[in-house]
């Protein structure tokens, strides 16, 4: 050991470190404040009803976010409808049914690894698997197999092309590991005495899961699902790869429609050199943040209201 420190040094060290801590933590808070304020400063003037109800335009004063807003809603709805059943099902299987075999260990490690894959790589998988369907139906959309009338809501086309369906499924790939991991944690938090009780009453394993474990885990699962969805709303890199439109005047009409999403519209505006478009980007960011805050708020509410102690 070095020479023994005097009491004064020790006290000074302690004090100094506390100051370092305070400064570091305050930097984080300060950065958040600067970030939010600077965006509100730039974008607040854009916010009015027209901004929400007008679509893209070459002229900054006529531009709005109607098309990307609806695009985001469509894409995220598809993403939620596919990712939640698949993710929750996987988690239930791994936590409640699977025996601890080599296979389940591989699946488990695999899910952790998938959570670390950059989102743009999922975009590449989505491009091949959903947009082009591995080239099984020819390499361009002219030879696509069509089901139903292109005008109707139930129009389907194989391959999907750059459609809202392909985008929603690609985002599903991105958030699937997050949904699985958070659901597993929620299920793990349920005391096993509840399961034993149900089994003792003669319930089958599935009846135990459906009647006892799942309802008890719903708050945890919902919180995880909402946080996963807030990730999906803000995700833009994979959608850029699967061919989201950057300039679109129309809202989607069916699963095969072209689409644009909010974060990519922001990206498009931010990229342009003119200052008017930067203000539009800031306006779009405010809308995006409001949606996100609402999502986070709901998650916090669920956590507080529904999570009752189980034992």
């Amino acid at each position: 050991m070095a020479t023994p420190r005097t009491n004064a040094t020790r006290v000074f060290q302690n004090r100094a470190f506390l100051w370092v801590c305070l400064v570091a933590t305050n930097v984080a808070v300060l950065v958040l404040a600067v970030l939010l304020l600077s965006i509100f400063w730039q974008g607040f003037g854009e916010l009015d009803w027209d901004f929400l109800t007008k679509s893209a335009s070459r002229k900054a004063e006529d531009a709005g976010i109607k098309a990307p807003l609806w695009g985001s809603i469509w894409v995220c709805a598809i993403c939620a409808l596919t990712a939640l059943p698949l993710g929750v099902g996987t988690a239930i299987y791994l936590e409640e049914f699977a025996k601890r075999t080599r296979f389940t260990r591989i699946v488990q490690t695999n899910i952790l690894n998938l959570a670390g894959v950059p989102s743009i790589v999922y975009g590449i998988l989505g491009l091949t698997a959903f947009v082009r369907m591995f080239g099984l139906f020819g390499s361009n959309l002219e030879n696509a197999i069509e089901l139903g009338n292109p005008e109707s809501l139930f129009y389907l086309r194989l391959p999907f092309g750059s459609s809202v369906l392909a985008a929603g499924l690609t985002l599903m790939l991105v958030i699937l590991p997050i949904v699985i991991i958070s659901t597993q944690e929620a299920l793990r938090a349920i005391p096993s005495s509840l399961r034993s009780g149900a089994m003792a009453l003669g319930a089958t394993p599935w009846q135990t899961v459906w009647g006892i474990t799942l309802p008890a885990a719903v708050p945890g699962i919902m919180t995880g699902a909402i946080l996963a969805m807030s990730r999906a709303i803000g995700e833009s890199a994979p959608l850029l790869v699967v061919g989201s439109a950057l300039f679109l005047r129309f809202t989607p009409e069916n699963l095969m429609s072209e689409y644009s999403v909010l974060p990519l519209q922001i990206f498009n505006w931010a990229q342009r050199p003119q200052a008017e478009f930067h203000a539009l980007a800031a306006g779009g960011i405010i809308i995006q943040l409001v949606v996100l805050l609402a999502f986070n708020g709901i998650a916090v509410l669920i956590r507080q209201k529904l999570q009752k102690p189980l034992l």
Binding site: T25, V29, N113, V121, A129, I266, A270
Partner: protein
């Protein structure tokens, strides 16, 4: 949902309703299901859950398959050689008469931005985590945690916008002082690595902070009490006892944050510029692996051409690097975890 536990009748729907003493109404029993049907139903459900679980494995196979076949296709072009790809220091698929595909400029660009982000976020995140876990009162904690959670939820395109609109103009205020140094090599342009790196640092800060804090809080109280009993100050206890005890978790948090930074796309696509070059100059324009992919997929190259295919080789490189980091993090967590209970 009102109560986490459903009424018992859901489980005992085959049994008569009503409390003890109610006369048994045989009609309420319904037709008992046979054990065979029940078992079949059970098996069908568990089977479909197992299929759902296999899907995640299929996703991995899909990624590997697509990246491998397309990358092989890229290497089959005459302009491309495997040796040049892994050792070359020139990357100019879109300009110039002679195309060069050497991955190092893109890796170097990614590395520069990531190093800037890490040197901002790792120390700051760790110190904030120590403060939150060891010093802060519950009241302060409950105010600071949501701030960090908000930071964690902000879409990355917002950080890109912030880098372009706020950080870069701030850095450019230094330009008059920098013009004299090295013939103005350090003057900040509209796109530079430092601004993108700092924005990326802000992005990964909440990841570093909250994961490190989890690791610190998992250290049992007894260790702290023992250190205090030996006469340690709060600084001694937190820095010399708690941090070493949580080191595996902290390192894993660092690795996760770094792999996030490497895979981050929108910030660098907006703020770092588009010149693929090997440089350590933070005021220079650099292109990262992800930014190059954005450039290609935004339509700068015809589909099927060698430039287009090169983005798959870049994606494969990116995938391998992040996968190795993730696996290293898991290994460190498993191998070096200190168990105290």
């Amino acid at each position: 949902m009102t109560s986490p536990v459903p009424p018992a009748s859901d489980l005992t729907s085959g049994l008569p309703r009503g409390g003890p003493g109610t006369p048994l109404d045989l009609r309420s029993l319904g037709r008992p299901r046979s054990v065979r049907t029940r078992d079949l139903r059970e098996r069908l459900i568990v089977g479909s859950l197992a299929i759902a679980a296999t899907f995640s494995v299929a996703v991995t196979f899909g990624i590997v398959l697509v990246l491998a076949t397309e990358t092989l296709g890229f290497f089959r072009f005459d302009e491309v050689s495997v040796a040049e790809f892994f050792t070359g220091s020139e990357w100019n698929p879109l300009l110039g008469a002679e195309k060069h595909f050497g991955i190092w400029p893109l890796v170097a660009g990614t590395l520069l931005v990531t190093v800037i982000a890490a040197s901002f976020a790792l120390p700051l995140g760790l110190v904030s985590a120590i403060y939150l876990s060891e010093y802060a009162s519950p009241r302060v904690r409950s105010a600071l945690k949501p701030a960090l959670e908000i930071l964690a939820g902000i879409p990355t395109v917002v950080y890109g916008f912030f880098a372009l609109m706020v950080i870069t103009p701030l850095l450019q205020r230094l330009n008059p002082a920098l013009e004299g140094i090295a013939d103005g090599a350090f003057v900040f342009g509209n796109y530079n690595a430092l601004s993108a790196g700092l924005a990326m640092g802000i992005m990964i800060l909440p990841i570093v902070c909250s994961l490190s804090e989890d690791a610190l809080r998992a250290v049992p109280r007894g260790l702290r009490d023992g250190a205090f009993a030996l006469g340690g100050t709060r600084f001694d206890v937190s820095v010399k006892v708690v941090v070493p005890a949580a080191l595996s978790g902290i390192v894993a948090a660092f690795l996760l944050a770094i792999s996030r930074a490497i895979g981050e796309t929108m910030i660098v696509a907006l703020a770092a510029g588009g010149v693929a070059q090997i440089t350590a100059n933070p005021s220079a324009e650099v292109q990262t692996m992800t930014a190059y992919m954005v450039q290609i997929f935004l339509g700068d190259a015809p589909a099927g051409g060698v430039e287009y295919k090169s983005s798959y080789a870049v994606a494969a490189t990116l995938f391998v690097i992040t996968l190795l980091l993730t696996m290293l993090g898991q290994y460190i967590l498993r191998r070096f975890r200190e168990e105290y209970d």
